[in-house]
Amino acid sequence: MNPERWQQISRIFKSAVSLDPEARNAYVAGQCGSDDSLRAEVEKLIESHQQASEEDFIGGMAAEAAAPLLVVVEDEVGPPQRTLNNGQQFGSYVILDALGAGGMGEVYLARDTRLDRTVALKILPPDITADKRRMQRFRQEAKVASSLNQPNILTVFEFGEVGGLTFLATEFVDGETLRDHLRGKKKLKLVEILDINIQVLAALDAAHEASIVHRDIKPENVMIRRRDHVVKVLDFGLAKVTEKKISKGEEESEAVTAFKTAPGIIMGTINYMSPEQAQAAATDQRTDIWSTGVMLYEMVSGKMPFSGVTTSHTIVQILEKDPSPLTKDVPAELERIVLKAMAKDPDERYQTAKDMLIDLRSLKRKLEVQAEIDRTSSPSTERAAVVGDQPPVVHGNKRGLVIMLVTAMVLVTATIFGINMWRSARERAKVVTPAAPVPATSDERQLTYWITVQKFKGGKPYQNPFPLAGEINFEPTYQIRVNVRSPQAGHLYILSEGPASTQPEFVVLFPSTTANEGSSLLTATQTVQIPEKSWFQFDQQRGTEKLWLVFSADPVPELESVKQYANRQTKGLIPNAAENKSVQNFLTEHSASKPQSEKGESVTILKTPGNLLVYALRLEHH
């Protein structure tokens, strides 16, 4: 665009955005006259302006968005204090990485060598295990959570002790806590807020059905899985089986409840505490409804409903103060739901998580229908915010019919989508496991590979990841992961080679310090993911990337000597020209005879006579 045109657009835009929608259209039309392309550009920019404000685009600061990069690239300050080291054996687990440390102990990423699965391992520091009360809490968390089986509840695998350290092994969720999620973005979309809370309530509904009360619902205890945004409720540490455990009579159990929920003893955050918890009175499942209400209020308004300068001030507010009304752009129905969840008297609240869930879900549908109508009915007029304040105003029968039809359509879609979501959540574990391995003879090498693809649309993951037999053209916005396994044991090496250049450079991807503990030796049917618990992403440059798969009965000296570079510092890049050359020679020499390749529906099987298989997997993107 030339500067004159830009000035022209900017002059009209400047005045137009300060006008209300109707006056704006007239103004833009008047200013642009017969210049249709000018008008289109101005309108497009106004539309972008509205979108950008709605999404709070670059509303924060670059340093906030990029802050993790500052520490990812260089970790000069050193890791936080930790009890276990990477690669260390801990019972039947091998420690892979530290995930973090919280009030209730250190959390590690670990591999369970018996079942060959990745887990999150929570270790209690010795000073806490000495505290019987906290130990009891921990033990309870393990037992209670294990007895539940619901997709939105974090699955607990094992509770145990190794060398005097007490640990809890749970499902590993690759994602962030709702607290971090709220920090990361300035403003969540209303539909997303509703979706998160609906999932939290689904978890609570299942727990309540089993007479388990969480008692500590807060954003820190809610995880959002990165790949599909499935919500997981964690830390049933305060949960208590309300009925089953009453064995010594009602009175004592009441006393225990009061003691456990007394502020300052166990609870870290009091802002989400219900009035009955704050008073150390008897609590039941309705305390979780309250806390969910507080969380919902916070997510919608960005503020805590009850927050005093001291703990006692906060408690007084919880007991006496009505939360400030939500702003006008929040739908009245949502305000009603939030206030009902936060009724001081438990009898006036939603009595079950399911009731609240149903109200949130129908509100979410209403908003989606409205957004659909806004999108389809009049693209030229002012876009109503998706957040919309009231149900659409209906003028005459014709519009009403359209709304009804769209409603019906969206409801059907939502139902189908809902079923798919549930089904896929259950089946996801199975999806990527290919058919039973074909027996291989001893005088040949066999390797199976497939590629997991995650589509992206508008910067967000789109649909669930799916397996592909490989070698297709990828969209630049896709993320992929390569999976390899063999019916035979052997030594596996995976290297990538960048787009053609005079001197190819190789990057060692497997084995690495984190993948397979630096060993190239694979057991029969062991599956290797590259990159493990992460994705590859293409850059904007088109081209072909070669991924070299080498599978050998014996260790390959040329590759054994470079696997040391697959660490955090060098990131797999072979820094030494001579070694790089020797890798190149090896690959060139042995790739002359190509393995036989059988491409199936979701996997490709490679076979070659002898005891060495070398294959270049080509990943093209456009």
């Binding site: 400047k14 685009f57 670059a62 990069l69 787009p499 990943l619």
Partner: protein, 192 residues
């Protein structure tokens, strides 16, 4: 402990303000190192707590780097302006390095890149924003600078108005226009 060469920096800032562009080249690595060091320290301290406060960071760097006795201009606007620029470069450098880390120094681009465990698309988005901002600067340097000061420098509208010597209302209008245009550029790129 080595102290940053305060006197030197103060002089360089003065030179730069007086129109000596080569002063910027000398200044850049000095301020870069200090900001970078502070950023990392802030992050390690606040990794689990609050988000990084850009202005706090720049203020601290200012106090450490600039010899207060010899500051002879009335406000700190030049320092903020240069800090915003440097902050932008630091972050973009990081994002680029992150994207191309495997090939070292970004000398050669690779098409396959491991996504960071923490921020899958942050690096890419940041680099693209930087590129769009450069295009904007060609058409409209002032609006581009408003975005730089606000988004990379962490300045509020009043502070930006002071630095650029325009009214706060103009800053708001410039911001709206620039943001809308950048948003459009980034979403168009994403769709391609």
């Amino acid at each position: 402990m080595t102290r940053p060469p305060q006197h030197n920096i103060t002089q360089l800032l003065a030179k730069w303000r007086d129109g000596n562009q080569s002063a910027l080249d000398e200044l850049y690595p000095l301020v870069y190192d200090e900001l970078h060091r502070l950023a990392r320290r802030y992050m390690s301290r606040e990794r689990r707590g609050h988000t990084l406060q850009t202005t706090a960071l720049i203020n601290e760097a200012y106090v450490r780097l600039v010899d207060q006795k010899n500051v002879h201009w009335a406000n700190r606007s030049h320092f903020f302006a240069i800090s915003a620029q440097i902050m932008r470069r630091i972050l973009i450098d990081h994002a680029r390095r992150h994207l191309y880390a495997k090939r070292g120094g970004g000398a050669q681009r690779v098409s396959l890149e491991e996504v960071a465990a923490i921020t899958p698309n942050a690096s890419r988005e940041l680099v693209r924003l930087d590129e769009a901002l450069k295009s904007l600067a060609e058409m409209d340097p002032r609006r581009s600078q408003v975005v730089e000061l606000r988004y990379f420098g962490g300045l509020n509208n009043e502070e930006i108005a002071g630095v650029l010597n325009i009214s706060a209302n103009t800053v708001t209008r410039d911001w709206n226009m620039a943001r809308a245009w950048l948003y459009q550029q980034l979403s168009e790129n994403a769709a391609n």
